[in-house]
């Protein structure tokens, strides 16, 4: 091979793209080749996308090398993250006749994807498809995870994959010597390099389908689930298990009562089970609303301790202590109390004045110590009192109203009923997040009679659902509601109190 070879590396600031570029240039130079690398670090080093560009040429006359890649003129593109591979494709640097594309399939989400209120992730499928169509040869694997298993960094597995691809005319030992010459973390880097090398030679691994873990115990109330429409079985089983875990069998039975009511309504309407399936999912979530008891329960389980240990990867001789960050407010504590007492406290300005400073504080609770653990464990034991609590009563009423609205809406338009069920997604979380979601939910539900009167009501409701998740100040939702020209007021601008004692009675 006598041609000048051109390589472009696409990484994120801090991923070691510069190290990789240096290794490659070093390999070439030690083989007697000409090598020139360059980069545009600058401000992009602070978490942005960075590009490193290398040209190498066989021994002989000095080549005239360029400082940036030209679309259609790149032999190897290395991307340290899936979307960066996509960016290289979008820049025209990956071309079918020419380019070997080596990419890590893992995702590092961009801030816009992470900060979305729902799922803001860009489509990986579109990028994967474009990579496969654009590259002469595609080497794709989770090289980040592979590096981590060898206690190394992605630059080492990427170099291994490059070596294994055979895209450059250098021997494996040439690359390994370059790693050794750099002299930093050599042992781990070499192990990761070898793993990357193997990936390049191996046939692509089949895509693993994500399978929900099977139920460990036969679900209680299994017979009732079996009588539901087939489509709803999976969620109904999960939901039943969740509610037994969350509360008890009676609570799960209540869940199935409601589900059966929806199923029979759907059957009357000639539905295919989609409404029941969606209800099985969203009803279970609503009936297992997040409260202090649930949080305390989840945080004191043995499985949780094991998960933390796995996550922090502490060596055996290192002690791990865990501390929880909680900030219960007056409202959340009162919520847990029996209804009558809770209402009395809620309406008493004096009680609020006395109790708020005692309750409403930043709390750091060490669950690895006996004191902290006992506090949360004790709170978790309040589970038995939950059905008598104010919050429980309020949520039950909200659920009833919501289900009634959904069934009503389904009678006009089954698709609209389904969208009403899906709206539960907005009602989640704790304190302000919950209040905001509930306010948005209520605002949309107020528009329901108008939506039901329109042929495209379901589609419009889906749009409103999306608008509610577009920003956390209800700006988009208010605009969307205003655009509907409904006579009801816009979505509330300020958070409503966490407890809305008047459920959506109008919907029933």
């Amino acid at each position: 091979m006598t041609r000048v070879l051109r390589l472009s590396i696409h990484a994120l600031g801090g991923q070691g793209g510069g190290v990789l570029a240096d290794w490659i240039a070093d390999v070439a130079e030690h083989a007697g080749w000409w090598a020139q690398g360059t980069s545009v670090p600058g401000v992009a080093q602070r978490t942005g996308a960075t590009v490193y560009y290398i040209e190498i040429a066989p021994p002989g006359p000095e080549p005239m090398m360029a400082l940036m890649p030209v679309p259609g003129d790149v032999d190897v593109v290395i991307a340290s993250e899936l979307m960066e591979a996509g960016r290289a494709v979008a820049r025209g640097l990956v071309t079918p006749g020419r380019t070997t594309l080596i990419a890590s399939s893992h995702r590092i989400f961009a801030i816009g994807e992470k900060s979305a209120m729902g799922d803001g992730a860009f489509s990986a499928a579109a990028v994967l498809d474009a990579c496969a169509r654009s590259a002469r040869r595609l080497i794709l694997a989770d090289l980040q995870a592979l590096a981590a298993t060898h206690g190394s960094v992605i630059s080492a597995t990427l170099l291994g994959a490059l070596a294994g691809s055979g895209a450059l005319p250098f021997a494996r030992a040439d690359y390994e010597s370059a790693i050794a010459r750099a002299g930093v973390g050599v042992k781990a880097s070499l192990a990761a390099f070898a793993a990357g090398f193997a990936v390049a030679g191996a046939p692509p691994a089949p895509e693993l389908a994500i399978v929900a873990p099977p139920s460990s115990a036969p679900p209680p109330l299994a017979e009732r689930i079996a009588r539901l429409p087939q489509a709803a079985h999976a969620f109904a089983r999960l939901g039943t298990e969740r509610l037994v875990d969350y509360q008890d069998r009676a609570h799960a039975a209540r869940y199935l009562d409601r589900l059966e009511a929806v199923a029979s309504a759907e059957r009357e309407l000639g539905g295919d089970g989609a409404l029941t399936a969606a209800t099985a999912r969203h009803l279970a979530l609503w009936m297992s609303y997040e409260d202090v008891i649930r949080v305390a329960d989840l945080k004191t389980r043995a499985t949780r301790a094991a998960r933390v240990a796995g996550e922090v990867r502490a060596p055996l001789d290192v002690l791990t202590r865990t501390t929880e960050f909680m900030h219960p407010r007056f409202e959340e504590v009162v919520d847990m109390l029996p209804t009558t007492l809770a209402r009395r406290l809620q309406n008493s300005a004096r009680a609020r004045g006395w109790l708020t400073p005692l309750i409403d504080r930043d709390r750091q609770i060490a669950t690895s110590s006996l004191g902290g653990f006992l506090l949360l464990w004790g709170l978790a034991r309040l589970r038995r009192l939950r059905p008598r609590s104010l919050r429980f009563e309020v949520e039950e009423a909200r659920i009833e109203a919501w289900l009634a609205s959904a069934i009503n809406a389904a009678r006009t338009d089954p698709a609209l009923g389904l969208e009403v069920i899906r709206l539960q997604r907005l009602v989640r979380g704790y304190s302000d997040t919950h209040a905001r979601g509930l306010a948005n939910f209520a605002a949309i539900m107020r528009a329901l009679p108008d939506l039901a009167a329109r042929a495209d009501g379901a589609a419009r409701l889906a749009t409103l659902h999306k608008a509610a998740l577009a920003d956390d100040e209800a700006r988009t939702l208010s605009a969307a509601l205003a655009a509907l020209t409904v006579k009801h007021g816009p979505a509330s601008q300020t958070a409503e109190p966490a407890i809305d004692p008047v459920p959506m009675a109008h919907a029933a």
Binding site: D22, V40, P41, G42, V43, A44, Q45, R46, T47, T50, P61, M64, L67, M68, V70, P71, G86, R87, V89, A90, G92, I108, F109, A110, I111, K114, M117, D119, A126, D129, A130, S134, A217, P220, G239, E241, V244, D245, E290, V295, K299, T300, V308, V312, L319, R321, T322, T323, E324, F325, D362, Q364, S368, W377, A380, R428, G429, S431, D432, T433
Partner: protein
């Protein structure tokens, strides 16, 4: 201590004649300065020449050996003024900064030194931050060269050639008594390569010689009548001398055949891009043989008219490849051809974009259009569009690093805005300017380095909401102390300034400044910002820890609402996490190895407690705080997660508390080398806890059975 250490690389600066130097463009320039017998070096950091400053700092021992004085200048103006040493004495000096922003700051001193002229060679190395990756306004340094009549070198990007041009730069400066600017584009600064080294040269005439035998020449000082004389000198003497030197040393290069109907004139810095475009058009072989005559302007100011005229005479068309606007070269060449009645068609911005970076693809397209219009080549078929559009991949704006101490300042501001409503925020230059981007989206304007508070100076009327200005410690010492704080005191401002004190000039790569606490022995640090602020007359000063979000928020609220009139300054202190980690990580590892008890914290999220609203991300934006698919099959939205690179700064927990978010976050403290007593107690507690967990697990299973 800067972000990147060149301790290993600087050893290569000792190479001598007969050896080959391998390295980055920045190191090559440093080596060239040593080979040129430079006496003093100064500058102010900023991409793409931050590393030049870092190399100087790391090479300090070698510089001292050679009798070279190196300063980390307070600003670009300081650095430019340093060139005054070359006015009266045969001392060679070099200064460097980021352009055009640094050249803006330096231009007062630059204009003065250019007016009076120099005796010793004076070289300004400007790192041109233009095009991809640039963080500044897109302007040309060329305009500064023209207005002050400073010669501008734009060398072809080849290390050996850049080194030669540095050495020529000093000689050109001395031959024409004029300071010279050497323009290095961002990729050339970071380009690797090799060149034949020469011996380093100790200056024959030293700084000591100058100080012990001062020379004075009133004619070199800008004051009437000398200032009028300077203008005449520039035209009558210095300019012709420069042209003579450029011609005699063939600083501009010719490539390709001697004759041809078409030709190309290109800025030296763009030559390789042009050569690649020609290679793709099958007009070059990739080894320097070109199919068309090309004139490479390694000196872009002044233009040598007779070279241009000779090149263009007899040609049908000439393409000018000149990046940026206004098109100074194209206009000047056009005027020269008109004056000399040369009829070649002059094509530049007619086929190439008027504005924007000249990438390989852009130059190729321009070349194709030129050849189609003025040659006989048909336009090549357009390439098929990529299989993906840029809209299908997420934008990655730069942002605060993992654990950055500046992030919580803006979290506090965002929370305060929710409480008090929006206020006008005047920003500065530095990492803190990332506040204008998602997820914070805070800040109205930025007027330049250290000018954050000055940018709010007009908003100084009664009966209105106070404004908040932001300034980094870098900008504060650069000029903000006088232009911002002094100005606010003198003009009786009632507004608020937040000084983000992270201990370094962090955005430029973590260089030390006056208030740095870990400055090396060669510099004097530990000068407190609070003392300086009080020293110029601010009465209302609070110092807060950035990581204490509630504290920061309370201080901000107090400053905005207090009835006390007068300027208010909040110093938000927290060490730059990149630097802190670099400093502390090895110490931590060493202590653990020695068997000392050490605790490292990291954060985590309980995925079954998180509901996927991502409020925490919108209030933090830490790169370490990310999302993962929801493990709960009932839920749809991804949950928050803390990646392995978490440094345990604690902001997650602070945000969860300050914003009353959710109880998903936990902190895990990893205790290394715990004492036997501590271990025993932990074991005892965990046994009891495990037993209780076992009991409740059994009860739960019984419920399900």
């Amino acid at each position: 201590m800067a972000e990147r250490s060149f301790a290993r690389e600087v050893e290569r600066l000792r190479l001598g004649a007969g050896e080959t130097f391998h390295g980055e463009g920045i190191l090559a320039v440093t080596k060239a300065l040593l080979q040129s017998g430079v006496s003093y070096v100064g500058g102010y950091q900023g991409a793409p020449i931050s590393h030049l400053m870092d190399v100087f700092a790391d090479a300090d021992p070698l510089l001292r050996e050679l009798g070279i004085h190196f300063e980390q200048s307070a600003s670009e103006a300081t650095a430019a003024a340093m060139l005054a040493a070359s006015v009266n004495y045969p001392l060679r000096g070099a200064v460097t900064w980021k352009s055009t922003v640094g050249t803006n700051v330096a231009s007062d001193a630059l204009a003065n030194v250019a007016s009076g002229g120099v005796t010793g060679g004076a070289l300004v190395i400007v790192g041109e931050d233009y095009g991809e990756g640039s963080s500044i306004m897109q302007e040309r340094s060329h305009a500064f060269a023209m207005k002050s009549q400073i010669w501008l070198l734009d060398p072809r990007p080849n290390l050996g050639h850049i080194v030669d041009m540095v050495e020529h730069g000093f000689r050109l400066s001395e031959a024409s008594n004029t300071p010279v600017m050497l323009e290095l584009r961002i990729r050339a600064c970071h380009m690797t390569g090799k060149f034949a080294a020469k011996d380093n040269v100790r200056p024959a005439f030293t700084l000591r010689d100058a100080m012990n035998a001062p020379v004075r020449d009133t004619d070199r000082i800008v004051l009437p009548p000398a200032n009028f004389q300077h203008e005449q000198e520039k035209i009558a003497r210095r300019w012709p001398a420069a042209l003579d030197y450029i011609r005699a040393n063939a600083l501009n290069e010719r490539f390709g055949p001697e004759e041809g109907e078409l030709g190309i004139i290109v800025q030296g810095g763009l030559f390789n891009t042009l050569a690649r475009a020609m290679e793709l058009a099958e007009l070059a072989d990739g080894f320097g043989a070109l199919g068309l005559p090309v004139l490479v302007l390694n000196v872009t100011y002044p233009l040598v008219d007779d070279e241009i005229v000779a090149f263009c005479t007899g040609k049908r068309g000439v393409l000018i490849v000149e990046e940026g606007q206004p098109a100074f070269l194209e206009d000047a060449i056009g005027a020269a051809l008109r004056r000399h009645d040369v009829q070649a068609a002059l094509v530049g911005k007619a086929v190439l974009p008027i504005a924007g970076e000249y990438t390989g693809a852009v130059v190729k397209a321009g070349l194709d259009a030129f050849l189609a219009e003025h040659g006989d080549r048909p336009l090549p078929a357009p390439a098929s569009p990529p299989a993906l559009t840029t809209a299908q991949v997420p934008a990655r704006p730069a942002g605060f690093c993992t654990g950055c101490p500046e992030r919580p300042v803006f979290t506090a501001m965002k929370l305060l805005m929710r409480e008090l409503g929006p206020f006008h925020v005047s920003c500065d230059i530095g990492c803190h300017l990332f506040s204008i981007l998602p997820p914070f989206e805070i800040g109205n304007t930025t007027m330049g380095y250290g000018l954050g508070w000055a940018g709010a100076a007009a908003f100084n009327v009664e009966g209105a909401r106070r404004t908040i200005s932001v300034m980094g410690d870098g900008g504060f010492w650069h000029n903000g102390l006088t232009s911002g704080v002094g100005n606010a005191v003198f003009n009786k401002s009632d507004n608020v300034l937040v000084i983000v004190d992270n201990g370094y000039s962090a955005a430029t790569g973590g260089q030390d400044i006056l208030s740095s606490k870990n400055a090396p022995a060669t510099r004097s640090g530990h000068h407190r910002i609070e003392d300086a602020v009080r020293g110029v007359g601010v009465q209302w000063v609070r110092t807060v820890e950035t990581y204490r979000i509630k504290q920061v928020k309370a201080a901000l609220k107090d400053a905005l609402t207090t009835p006390t009139r007068g300027p208010k300054v909040i110093i938000a202190a927290g060490e730059c996490m990149l630097n802190r980690q670099r400093r502390e990580k090895p110490l931590f590892a060493a202590a653990v190895k020695k068997g000392e008890r050490r605790v490292r914290a990291r954060f985590g999220v309980d995925p079954d407690v998180c509901t996927g609203d991502h409020s925490c991300i919108r209030l933090s934006g830490c790169p370490s705080l990310t999302v993962v698919p929801n493990p709960d099959p009932l839920r749809e939205d991804p949950v928050a997660a803390v990646a392995q690179d978490c440094v345990g700064c604690g902001v997650c927990g602070e945000v969860a508390h300050a914003a009353i978010l959710c109880p998903s976050f936990y902190r895990a403290d990893l205790v290394h080398n715990a004492s036997r007593l501590e271990r025993g107690w932990a074991r005892a507690q965990s046994r009891v806890i495990a037993a209780m967990q076992h009991w409740s697990d059994r009860r739960r299973l019984a419920r399900a059975a």
